[in-house]
Amino acid sequence: MDAILFLIFAAFAVACAVNLVLQKHPISSALSLVGVMGSLAVLYLLLGGEFIAMAQLIVYAGAIMVLFIFVIMLLNAGSETRAKRHLWASYAGIPMIAAMIAIAAYIVQHALPPTEEVRFGAFQHGNAYDIGEKLFKVYVLPFEVTSILVLVAILGAIVLARKEVS
């Protein structure tokens, strides 16, 4: 059951990712990205990361992508026009992508140190309680540093967005 769901949503994620690149209109691309985020959330859920799955759904698929689409709609961005391509790009492009994926797969398979095998249902510490425990006991310093970083970013955004007062 888990494996079937994994295959369905993994395939959906890949299809959305490919579609994201192929689509000409920014809104279509952005929605494909929402599809990728949503299926990633399901994959997290299958691996036992309940909290991460919901965070993925709320933050990425929900908040950030809505903002993307909002901006695209506000700017009323039109379709991209197809530029004339180099001759060798249109012939060698697909083989080179295939070669790159093959090399990456080879490196992951052989050159990197072997990792533990991932099994569905093996990981049990993905709930909100365990994440909170880790966040506020083990990783409290990185967490606080990150929040200061985010605060600086917020302040920067406010300064940039503020109307000039003459």
């Binding site: 809104i27 279509s28 929605l31 929402v34 949503g38 959330a41 309940e50 909290f51 919901m54 965070a55 759904l57 709320i58 698929a61 929900g62 908040a63 809505v66 903002l67 689409i69 909002f70 709609m73 506000l74 709930n127 909100a128």
Partner: protein, 395 residues
């Protein structure tokens, strides 16, 4: 296999009840608004217009489905589906009552008890924006686009105070599963004050409750925050170009969202199905008393009819009420129905407030709406969360 059959039955029951509620919620809204405005509301179809929802459904299904020219077809068709899908699926994590234990059947009155149920609802409410935003954009209409833009901006802004208002009671109750949330609100102070979150120590969550209430009005695009479909400036906003069943989908999504957030407010703040006062003081007889009162009222008006057909319809309604009142006295059935009654009563009250507000308040201006969210709701929500956290840490 047993689990599968049971789940299918539960899903069918929940879907049927939800759909009926959505249809009749609209009838109730029209009636209540009408009486607030000193009108009588729908009353042509069936007694007191009770068959009006059915007539509306038939009308919407059989109307011509117009396809405006130059729309983006894929997204134009996709948008109502997205809206209605994310609105309806949220009901699957809402518990309606305690467990049913009849003979060999042991099951919770809930489709599924996620231990991240609250986050699931938050995620879905975030995804619901796409339906509205895409509908506005794909319609190729300036009014619709403005409606869609307003809606996405509004929902992004109000999601923040809403999430913070939800976080405060969660700090106190220490769980994310709706069922455990309600269990944590059981019991009474001094034997009679319920330990609902809005009364519970160390810091009663009344402020969170109000913030959540205001924010969900904006999230569901209801008056006074119905800027996305402001009739006098935007025709009908994001669903201007939609007709027939596609228009009905948006309508259904709006009402389903209302029901969902009312359920969430009940579960988070009003103690779910925990009664208003303990059974020792006779709270178990409240439903019986309510329905008996209804029956007496029906009989009284039936025998002193204001209109000729009241002579028949009202006594029939009275007999039905008497029957329901009797059912609540049967011990085995009462254990199942009592929690349902309290849950439905609280949800119904919140839905009534929704309609009441619509009949009372005018619409905000757009800049007022945004300023209200960012300069009032947001700081208050942060302060409330901070104080709650402090109170929980100190107690």
């Amino acid at each position: 296999m047993n689990f599968l059959i049971l789940s299918l039955i539960k899903a069918a029951v929940v879907a049927f009840v939800l759909m009926t509620t959505l249809a009749y919620l609209q009838w109730i809204e029209r009636k209540v608004i009408a009486h607030i405005q000193l009108r009588v509301g729908p009353r042509r179809v069936g007694p007191h217009g009770l068959l009006q929802p059915l007539a509306d459904v038939i009308k919407l299904l059989t109307k011509e489905d117009l396809l405006p020219s130059h729309v983006n077809k894929v997204f134009y068709f996709l948008a109502p589906f997205i809206a209605v899908f994310f609105a309806l699926i949220a009901i699957s994590v809402i518990p309606f009552g305690t467990e049913i234990n009849v003979g060999p059947i042991h099951t919770a009155m809930q489709l599924t008890d996620l231990n991240i149920g609250v986050l699931f609802i938050l995620g879905l409410s975030g995804m619901g924006v796409y339906g509205v935003a895409l509908a506005g954009w794909a319609s190729n209409n300036k009014y619709a686009l403005l409606g869609g833009l307003r809606s996405s901006a509004q929902m992004i802004s109000y999601e923040l105070p809403m999430a913070m208002a939800i976080a405060a009671p969660l700090l106190m109750l220490n769980t994310l599963s709706f069922r455990h949330l309600v269990d944590a609100q059981g019991g009474y102070y001094f034997g009679f004050i319920p330990r609902w979150t809005i009364f519970q120590g160390p810091f009663p969550q009344i402020i969170s409750f109000l913030l959540f209430g205001i924010a969900v009005f904006a999230e569901t695009n209801r008056v006074p925050f119905d800027l996305p479909e402001a009739e006098n400036e935007l025709v009908a906003g994001f669903h201007t170009e939609y007709s027939s069943m596609k228009f009905a989908s948006f309508f259904m999504a709006e009402y389903a969202n209302m029901v969902t957030v009312s359920c969430v407010a009940t579960l988070l703040f009003l103690g779910g199905w925990q009664p208003l006062w303990p059974a020792a003081y006779g709270s178990n007889f409240v439903p019986t008393a309510v329905f008996l009162f209804g029956a007496v009222l029906c009989f009284y008006h039936g025998f002193n009819p204001a209109r000729s057909f009241d002579r028949i319809t009202l006594p029939v309604a009275g007999v039905v009420f008497l029957g329901v009142a009797g059912i609540f006295l049967v011990p085995i059935v009462a254990t199942i129905l009592l929690p349902l009654f309290w849950f439905a009563a609280k949800v119904g009250f919140i839905l009534f407030v929704y309609i009441w507000v619509r009949g009372t308040l005018p619409r905000f201006r757009y800049d007022q709406l945004m300023r209200f969210a960012w300069t009032f709701m947001f700081p208050v929500a942060i302060a409330n969360l901070f104080i709650t956290g402090l109170a929980v840490a100190l107690s």
